[in-house]
Amino acid sequence: MSQDTTNASNNLGWDPIDPHGINPHDEAHKGHFVADWKMQISILVILLVFTVLTVGFYNLEQWAETAFEITLPKWINIAGAMSIATVKAILVAAFFMQLKYDKVLNTFVMLFCLFCVALFLGFTMIDLGSRHLVDPERAPPIVAGGTGVGLNAAPVDKKFSLILSPKVNTGGSNIVYYARLHGNEEKPGLLYYREKGDEASFWKKFYGAHASGRDELDERNFYEQLGFTTGTSISDSNASHPRYGLTPGLFSDVDPKTAESQDDGH
């Protein structure tokens, strides 16, 4: 890079037409690339065909699973969908975005960016997937702490607990098939029953027949909110669960009201 300065005047060392020496023979200097409409429309058709393919593949798989109970290994599903997506992405980038006809630099920018994405995903997954290696106990997840607003915890804010989410015992089958089987999925869930004014019977059916129950208290409290009892008796001690109001105290109390109700409890 130290230039021979003595003859700098007659040998500039650079091309006056293309001072940066970036693209000495690039088309761009004579006019920008104009795409061919036939090519563009055929790319669109190919992309749509690929979309149909990937959706078809998905449905085929579903059909095989429901009709013949053939469950393909997971990687086939992932590899199929992702490789089609990759091909589609390459087509869009190369032809619609004209990377094929553009400067190599732009392609390089995208590739380096994808390399960073790969690093990011790869290393993060290595960490989260390998925590159990030395000591199996160190694998996630155990659930505690944080905001404390998990589904099982006492709500910090009442607005988070408007609708409870009990567990459904599906007997091991997939929830969607289970729901379809029982005809519940077709109707839009809770809201449907609430609007029809038939919610009580829904929950009665729900708890009576299917629910294994996320939390006994949730069930009971939900029934209470709806205005009827489940018939299950819950001890006073448990009833003082703080989620939906309080129950009598445990020791002889200063407040006569709570003392009374404690007597009732015994």
Binding site: A139, A144, G146, S237, G249, L250
Partner: protein, 393 residues
């Protein structure tokens, strides 16, 4: 058996860097040695670079009319040399560091497991027999004999460990991320709410010089104290989240285990929970900390203590009965006493029903409206068992 890089007798540099006491375990000594090795490596290169810099700066200082002497603009061999030589020593560092890491993170199968629970802002250690340590000591203790005063800081738990034993920590947090750091073992690990983390160490064999002073009796006992600090920032009292690990002879440890597994009376059990969890924020002598104090008293903010009305943020008032305390423990933000921040975490899932009951008995005992007043200890215990019966019904 791994060979240590550091000598058993710490030299001056080692003392300057890591303090007077020698490393308590081989793994710690190894990492000290590695640190010193890296330090010497660094000193070598630092002196080399700075020496050359100062020498050049003086030798080639600018003199009027004297031009800079031409010299090569680059020298590939030289550049390769000073790239490759330090790089290869980096490989050595990596390998040794990896080795030391393994010895800290992996512990033998027969190691004694100590469960550590971190929460804002205290540590609880649970021993294999289910006991937890009720003993505490202060960060600093000054006895002023002339004025008959004792000055003590906040109380921190003491975790007793037997000498010459492999210990494995299984740690978990109940709220935010903490880190359990034993500086003398040169190891820390984050304590995370969604999984167990841990490391291991071997307690040293006590030497005659290892002693501590018993807090109450003032006796000099054999043992070795080590600080534990929370190293991951966790909020207001992060800097007060400390504990002591006390290495004691096996028989002392066994005695402690035997003592602690005795069932406590409700009030004592309450005191124990208070010391472990609540004391950071609630005093019992009327002092205002993050939360209100628990004893009964009156001041400008209103009345405090069991049986008295609490003034709430919204202007209403509610009587402090057992229910109030129960709710405040499980759902602390439901009722906030006027003038205090909604800072308390929920203890849902951390305290059993019995724990809560015991805690309430203790809170009641602090009030002059104690409903259990007049009953002796036996009665208090009866009250406790009554409740248990109640909860079974």
């Amino acid at each position: 058996m791994m060979q240590t890089l550091a000598s058993a007798q710490p030299d001056i540099l080692q003392k300057l860097i890591f303090g007077e006491t020698p490393a308590p375990s081989e793994a710690a000594a190894w990492s000290d040695g590695l640190f010193l090795m890296i330090t010497w490596f660094s000193i070598f290169f630092f002196v080399l670079l700075m020496g050359l810099m100062v020498y050049f700066t003086i030798k080639y200082r600018r003199r009027p009319g004297v031009p800079a002497q031409p010299s090569p603009h680059h020298n590939l061999l030289l550049e390769i040399f000073w790239t490759v030589v330090p790089s290869s020593s980096l490989i050595v560092m990596f390998v040794l560091g990896f080795q030391g890491y393994t010895s800290k993170v992996v512990s033998p199968d027969n190691a004694m497991e100590l469960k550590i629970q971190g929460s804002k802002w205290s540590w609880i250690a649970t021993y294999p027999n289910g006991a937890t340590s009720p003993e505490t000591q202060a960060l600093s203790r000054v006895v002023d004999n002339e004025n008959h005063t004792v000055i003590e800081g906040k109380q921190y738990p003491i975790f007793y460990l037997p000498e010459n034993t492999d210990v494995k920590l299984r740690m978990m947090s109940t709220d935010v991320i903490h880190a359990f750091w034993i500086p003398e073992y040169r190891t820390k690990m984050d304590v995370i709410p969604n999984r167990y983390t841990g490391f291991g160490f071997r307690t040293p064999i006590l030497t005659p010089g290892d002693t501590y002073v018993h807090r109450e009796t003032g006796e000099v006992m054999p043992g070795r104290d080590m600080w534990v600090f929370c190293a991951e920032y966790c909020g207001d009292d992060h800097s007060r989240m400390a504990a002591t690990i006390r290495i004691v002879p096996q028989e002392v440890y066994d005695q402690k285990m035997a003592d602690w597994s005795v069932k406590l009376s409700p009030i004592d059990a309450g005191i124990k929970i208070w010391t472990q969890l609540c004391k950071t924020c609630h005093e019992t002598d009327g002092t205002r900390l993050v939360g209100p104090a628990w004893n009964s008293f009156k001041n400008a903010d209103g009345e405090f203590g069991f049986g008295y009305d609490a003034l709430l943020e919204d202007g209403s008032s509610v009587i402090r009965d057992a229910n109030y305390y129960r709710e405040s423990i499980l759902d602390p933000n439901a009722k906030i006493v006027k003038g205090f921040a909604p800072a308390m975490p929920s203890y849902q899932g951390q305290l059993s029903e019995e724990d809560i009951d015991n805690l309430i008995v203790f809170i009641q005992s602090l009030s002059d409206r104690n409903p259990n007043a007049g009953q002796d200890a036996g009665d208090a215990e009866e009250a406790g068992s009554d409740t248990e019966a109640g909860s079974d019904s």
